[in-house]
């Protein structure tokens, strides 16, 4: 489901993939994140995604007048996962709200792996 913004002259439709990509890039630029994660349906193994297909590690749901974003991340070992997670939530929320201009209702983080 895309997000629509209307004004008197027309409407702007922003696809979920755009939101997912922006959220993914915001997360990947956060300190402590080494990649986005994608669980392969076949064997449940987690794959580390880079810049080219990072939106696979993000799920976006529209809710009322905003979005809920789920991110699946891989963190570096030896770093505070709680602090990194909190940082990702704040950065994603800030970037999506300011660059796209839609309200972020919730950001959920799942830490799928640690890189040792």
């Amino acid at each position: 489901m895309a997000v629509k913004k209307t004004n008197s002259l027309g409407e702007i439709v922003i696809s979920e993939d755009v939101i997912a990509t922006l959220a993914g890039i915001s997360a990947i630029e956060c300190y402590g994140i080494v990649g986005m994660a994608s669980k392969r349906a076949t064997d449940g193994l987690v794959e580390l995604l880079g810049y080219d297909n990072l939106s696979k590690g993000v799920k976006v749901f529209t809710q009322d007048n905003g979005v809920v974003i789920n991110l699946y991340i891989i963190v570096e070992y030896g770093i505070s996962i709680a602090a990194v997670g909190k940082n990702v939530i704040e950065t994603v929320k800030y970037n999506v709200e300011n660059i796209i201009g839609i309200i972020v209702k919730k950001v959920d983080i799942t830490v799928e792996g640690i890189r040792v």
Partner: protein, 247 residues
């Protein structure tokens, strides 16, 4: 007075002094925070992270430099707050790795540990952004290794590396556009500078460890006897507006 070796107790004092200096100046650091999210909390975050590190160090009765550095690394990981706090915890983690096995250290080993800290901090991010505290840490560490080759007195060594750090910090607006736009140097880098200034304070013998007493004005001025002026820092006016969105 020449100081050529640092032991566990001296290292402890240096960390206490760094925490004191950061605590005293955290508002100044907060006011510079524009990147990546301008939420004005870099100083507070770095301070809280350091306090957690100090708490861990205080549980050590004595300890050599390895044990003190490990305690700082653990404590800062446990209490890391915000982006800058996490980076600080990685700098300490690398620093501790670089000191591993040592009882006391000289300037060369200290410089090695600084380099290890910078290297570790760069590894934990996919796209290291130059013009941030990462840059200040990296270039200071690189120069420190050269300085330590010809200098075994910690008083002189620290004076020199602080000069380097200040120089790099002043160049950060040229490396990161958003800093240039806001007309500020990098907040995290400034925090690092205060940490180094604090540590150099502790190199003197009669250092007051009590963290509850903030440094007096005289002591702050005394630390600026190093030959660079800090006047420019006070002139930074509001470069942006901070809004707190509390859900």
């Amino acid at each position: 007075m020449r100081l050529e070796l640092i032991d566990g107790n001296k290292l402890k004092e240096m960390f206490y002094a760094s925490a004191q200096m950061l605590e005293k100046n955290k508002q100044k650091v907060n006011s510079l925070n524009v990147f990546p999210v301008p939420d004005g909390d870099t100083g507070t975050n770095m301070c809280l992270t350091m306090m957690s590190a100090i708490k861990e160090v205080k549980t050590l009765a004595n300890g050599n430099v390895t044990q003190v550095a490990d305690a700082v690394s653990r404590g800062s990981l446990k209490g890391a707050r915000g982006n800058s706090g996490v980076i600080l915890s990685q700098l300490f983690r690398g620093f501790a790795k670089g000191l591993k096995g040592e009882q006391v250290i000289n300037t060369r080993k200290y410089a090695e540990a600084l380099k290890a800290g910078a290297d570790t901090s760069y590894k934990a991010v996919m796209k290291p952004v130059e013009g941030t505290m990462l840059t200040v840490a990296r270039i200071t560490a690189e120069e420190a290794e050269k300085i330590a080759q010809g200098c075994s007195d910690f008083n002189v060594f620290f004076k020199e590396i602080i000069k380097i750090a200040k120089r790099v910090l002043d160049k950060t607006p040229d490396m990161l556009a958003v800093l240039k736009q806001a007309g500020v140097v990098d907040a995290g880098g400034m925090g690092l500078l205060f940490i180094m200034l604090g540590a150099s304070n502790a190199l003197k013998e009669d250092f007051d460890q009590d963290l509850d007493l903030p440094l007096t004005e005289d002591e702050i001025i005394a630390t600026s006897e190093l030959d660079f002026s800090q006047e420019g820092l006070g002139e930074i006016g509001e470069g942006y507006c901070t809004e707190f969105l509390i859900p």
